[in-house]
């Protein structure tokens, strides 16, 4: 401890200590001279003595750094090119990491994010991310490990002046106070005033909605607003920086106790069946571990099950995730039977990160070649330094310091590039304002680490080569060319695959016809319809819709195609686990969606245990047998009566997804949607359909949507990813080409004399070109091969995102390789032309 202190004191007063030491030594020599003793080198002695303090490296390092800075200043062109390449390479990775940081690493801007937990339900056979409200209330009442419980239910409501229904977040009254949110205007919800069902109906506006809908008019606070036609008072505006624990920028918050007031007839607060339910968060008591809370909730659930054996699952547990991170919001409202699928976030981020690293690899390879060439140009300088006594280690350190300095500049520029890229992407994809892409210390540390790693990659080999005074850097250079080719090849192939997938998705038939279909979500469950009332409603609605001109057919379904609602089940078929997309439909569904029935027959009323499977499922599970009549179990035994054409109704992008259609039961009707096939343009029918739906029960607020719109929304994500990867691929290709231009030009300039002799002896242009380019053909070919192999491996991760084209799609591969081959050929031939213009006489006289 003391020693460290003395060492630091020495560092601070280095000059004084050094002077004193010099004084000591001077005196010693003066005395020794009298006795005539021999003397050593004073400077060297002083350095040796100073070594004891362990700070000599700082002197050497700062010396190296000053020298490196001078060298970089002396060749601004090289420095600019190098920093630009690094900025692109590091910047892309900083953007990817920045996104990961935002979602996973950076705590939300709420009070005490570490103690917030997000709970979901899980039992051996079921899982759900939402709880029935009364179950949540039971936990809230009895839990001792949680100091507070927060809950949210999102319901679409009609708002005056808005064309479409708007998602309203119904939250417990403690939501804002517990999360420590402050209002932008007026007040937020307050547990005392807004907690009871009898309180005055109030609404808190999101800042975005307030600006869009009210033109940021501050006088709306205290004024009225109508939701689903019901009057309420606007009490305040929440700032856009408040996450609201939701990835959708929330427009409106309303106390959950008032949900039945706005959604007439809603049973949300008393319904155990979990058709809608709430998302639940808990605040840990100080000093309590999340496991303790989970354990307590598990035993509370078991207790509650005694009173509600049908609704609370057997062995129900409530696992938690840290709630203080954006990641916890992604799960949304999924539910299903069997075990839940793995998170899709990590494979996607991993994939993007791999592509980003490839860009960095190309940039490093490029810079490595540049440095190698520079090392050859600096041979003279290095030879002089060796001659005056520089050791190999010292030389290596000095050359590497130059690379480190470049990497540092690259990291700084990379942070800026990453910020700009991330910001642009986030603006384009309408990610909420509170996800702030400004780099934090993690991003900066990442950029510095990436810079250091790249310095090792691009700087070490050239430094070693130069320090050893090796003049033949050909092999290293060829390797670097090969690596760049491989990396950019992978990127181009992935871009090709995504582009092809997008093209395929737009042009091909997804197995069903969506262009002429409208969906109506009457929201009966929200309004507290019983199954019997829902049946009556649907019968009336279907009758009136069929009577409309231009309606070809009408069907009912629980999950409208291309919608957000999806039900996934893990089936056990003959001992094999199969994950299937479940839909519940009536017999008119297949005709309405134009999904062909390939074998067997349609569903029939009064057959609750008959199902239809998709041809893709039948092929996968019974490749050589007749699927008709086969049975499987999912709670009950079901019999397959028909096989329908493969139609990826929900996961358009995943060619591995398979479907099972169950008959729609009366109990499903309150949550069902109606599908209408129009004989002509569906746009013309939309208004009439909406009016018809409203006419059946004026208290409801049916939502009518064109299926085309849903399709376009689904594709938007694919468009972004295809565009992004294409840009990355082009950047990598460009970098690789620049690198090749550089090395070929260098090779030509090195071999001018040899070319001159060959020309003088009568070599033809083609021969000269082949001589110059031969040394590059092999690394390019090897890089291409490695790149294709790597792409086939990497693209397997993409299988689920390719809209039905294979991950080995030949068009994408050949297209990418073709583009690459052409650009590389141009990049190699353009500088090689110079070889043909060599004047033999001048080349020979030159020596």
């Amino acid at each position: 401890m003391n020693q460290l202190f003395r060492r630091l004191r020495y560092l601070l007063h280095r000059r004084r200590f050094d002077r004193e030491l010099a004084g000591d030594l001077d005196f010693h020599r003066e005395m020794a001279q009298r006795t005539g003793a021999p003397l050593g080198n004073a400077l060297q002695l002083r350095e040796q003595a100073r070594d004891a303090w362990g700070w000599t490296w700082i002197d050497r390092f700062s010396q190296d750094l000053r020298y490196a800075a001078r060298m970089l200043r002396k060749s601004p062109g090289f420095t600019f090119a190098a920093v630009l390449m690094l900025a692109i390479g590091i910047g892309v990775n900083v953007a990817v990491f920045g996104f990961f940081d935002l979602l996973v690493l950076r705590p939300l801007h709420i009070r005490d994010p570490a103690t917030l937990l997000r709970f979901h339900r899980r039992a051996p056979d079921n899982y759900a991310f939402a709880l029935p409200y009364p179950e949540m209330a039971f936990f809230r009442e009895h839990s001792r490990t949680l100091s507070a419980v927060l809950a949210m239910n999102t319901t679409k409501l009609a708002v005056e002046g808005e064309a479409k229904q708007i998602d309203v977040d119904f939250v417990t009254a403690n939501f804002f106070t517990n999360l420590g949110a402050t209002p932008l205007l007026g007040r937020l919800l307050d547990p005392v005033r807004d907690g009871s069902p009898g309180a005055d109906p109030v609404v808190v506006l999101g800042q975005g909605f307030w600006q869009r809908h009210f033109g940021a008019d501050p006088t709306v606070v205290g004024g009225p607003i109508r939701l689903n036609g019901k009057l309420a008072t606007v009490v305040g505006v929440a700032a856009a920086e408040f996450s609201g624990l939701s990835l959708n920028a929330t427009a409106l918050w309303v106390p959950i106790a008032q949900q039945p007031y706005f959604a007439a007839g809603s049973h949300l607060l008393t319904d155990y069946s979990g058709t809608s339910g709430v998302r639940m968060w808990g605040r840990l008591q100080p000093g309590v571990a999340p496991q303790a809370a989970e354990q307590e909730l598990r035993s509370l659930a078991a207790e509650l099950r005694k009173q509600h054996p049908d609704e609370i699952w057997e062995k129900e547990g409530l696992p938690s995730d840290p709630g203080g991170f954006a990641q916890s919001m992604i799960a949304g409202n999924r539910s299903g039977t069997g075990s839940e699928g793995k998170s899709e976030l990590y494979p996607v981020i991993g994939m993007v990160a791999a592509l980003g690293l490839l860009i960095l690899a190309v940039a490093c390879g490029n810079l490595g070649s540049l440095l190698l060439a520079r090392g050859v140009a600096r041979e003279r300088e290095i030879a002089i330094r060796v001659a005056v006594g520089a050791g190999k280690g010292r030389l290596l350190r000095q050359l590497f310091t130059e690379s480190l300095l470049l990497a540092l500049l690259g990291s700084i520029a990379g942070v800026a590039v990453g910020y700009v890229v991330l910001r642009a992407l986030m603006t384009a994809t309408e990610i909420p304002v509170w996800l702030n892409p400004t780099p934090d210390w993690r991003v900066v540390a990442f950029a510095l680490a990436a810079g250091f790693a790249s310095a090792l990659l691009f700087g070490l080999t050239p430094a070693l080569q130069a320090a050893r005074q090796r003049h033949r850097a050909t092999i290293a250079r060829q390797f670097l060319v090969g690596a760049q080719v491989a990396a950019s090849c992978v990127l181009l192939i992935v871009a090709g695959l995504l582009g092809r997938a997008l093209d395929h998705a737009i042009s091909s038939n997804p197995g069903f016809e969506y262009q002429h279909v409208l969906s109506i979500d009457p929201g009966l469950a929200l309004h507290g319809y019983s199954p019997a009332r829902a049946q009556a409603y649907m019968d009336t609605l279907e009758g009136r819709l069929r009577a409309l001109r231009g309606v070809r057919s009408v069907a009912l379904t629980l999950g409208p195609p291309l919608g957000h609602r999806s039900e996934i089940a893990g089936l056990d078929i003959d001992g094999r686990a199969v994950r299937v997309q479940i839909n519940r439909v009536d017999p008119q569904f297949f005709q309405t969606m134009q999904i062909p029935l390939l074998r067997g027959r349609n569903l029939m009323p009064g057959e609750p245990r008959a199902v239809i499977v998709s041809a893709s499922l039948a092929r996968g599970v019974w490749p050589s047998q007749d699927p008709l009549g086969k049975k499987f179990s999912l709670g009950e035994d079901y019999t397959i009566v028909g096989v329908a054409g493969a139609a990826r109704l929900v996961k358009l992008e995943d060619s591995d997804s398979v479907e099972v259609y169950f008959p729609l039961a009366q109990a499903d009707l309150p949550a069902a949607s109606v599908l209408v096939r129009a004989s002509a343009a569906p746009e013309d029918l939309a208004r009439a359909v909406a009016a018809t739906a409203k006419s059946v029960d004026p208290n409801t607020f049916p939502e009518v949507e064109l299926m085309k719109t849903g399709f376009r929304q689904k594709l938007r994500g694919a468009e972004y990813s295809a565009l992004t990867v294409s840009v990355l691929g082009s950047v990598a290709d460009l970098l690789a080409c620049l690198g090749i231009v550089g090395v070929v030009a260098y090779a030509v300039s090195q071999r001018t004399r040899e070319i001159g002799i060959r020309m003088a002896l009568g070599a033809r242009p083609a021969h000269i070109l082949s001589v110059v380019l031969r040394q590059f053909s092999r690394p390019v070919a090897a890089g291409l091969l490695v790149g294709v192999v790597a792409a086939t491996a990497l693209s397997r991760l993409l299988r689920g995102q390719l809209y039905g084209i294979g991950n080995l799609d030949p068009t994408a591969y050949l297209g990418a390789i073709g583009i690459f081959a052409v650009t590389v050929a141009v990049a190699a031939l353009w500088p090689a032309r110079r070889a043909l213009r060599v004047d033999p006489m001048r080349a020979l006289r030159h020596e």
Binding site: N2, Q3, R6, R7, Y10, E20, L21, G23, D24, L25, F27, H28, R29, E30, M31, A32, G40, L45, R46, Q48, A49, R50, D51, A52, W53
Partner: protein, 108 residues
């Protein structure tokens, strides 16, 4: 007679020992060791000053300004309490090892 080299551990011990009776400057330390060893041990400046810096770093001695016999302002090194303790420890350790070696040499 060739100069006898010293292991650096021993040099530290000797420096601490000659400083026990009072503060000395660097040259005087070398001289004292030379004289006391009947001119057998030579302390080169190349080993004396690194050793002194090390001892300073460890906090066993402090340096203070004084006037040399030639009327020059030089640094005198003075043993600290920590240095005194270290000297005692090294002395007893040295005595123990020395005795052990001696007994082996006598009886083997």
């Amino acid at each position: 007679m060739p100069k006898t080299e010293m292991p650096s551990g021993a040099l530290v011990l000797l420096i601490l020992r000659v400083l026990r009776s009072g503060a000395l400057h660097g040259y005087a330390i070398a001289q004292r060791i030379h004289v006391l060893s009947s001119e057998v041990l030579h302390v080169e400046e190349g080993s004396l000053y690194p050793a002194l810096q090390k001892i300073l770093l460890k906090g066993w001695v402090t340096a203070e300004w004084g006037i040399s016999e030639t009327n020059r302002k030089v640094r005198f090194y003075r043993l600290t309490p920590a240095g005194r303790k270290q000297l005692e420890a090294e002395l007893s350790e040295y005595g123990r090892v020395n005795e052990a070696i001696q007994s082996v040499l006598r009886t083997a």
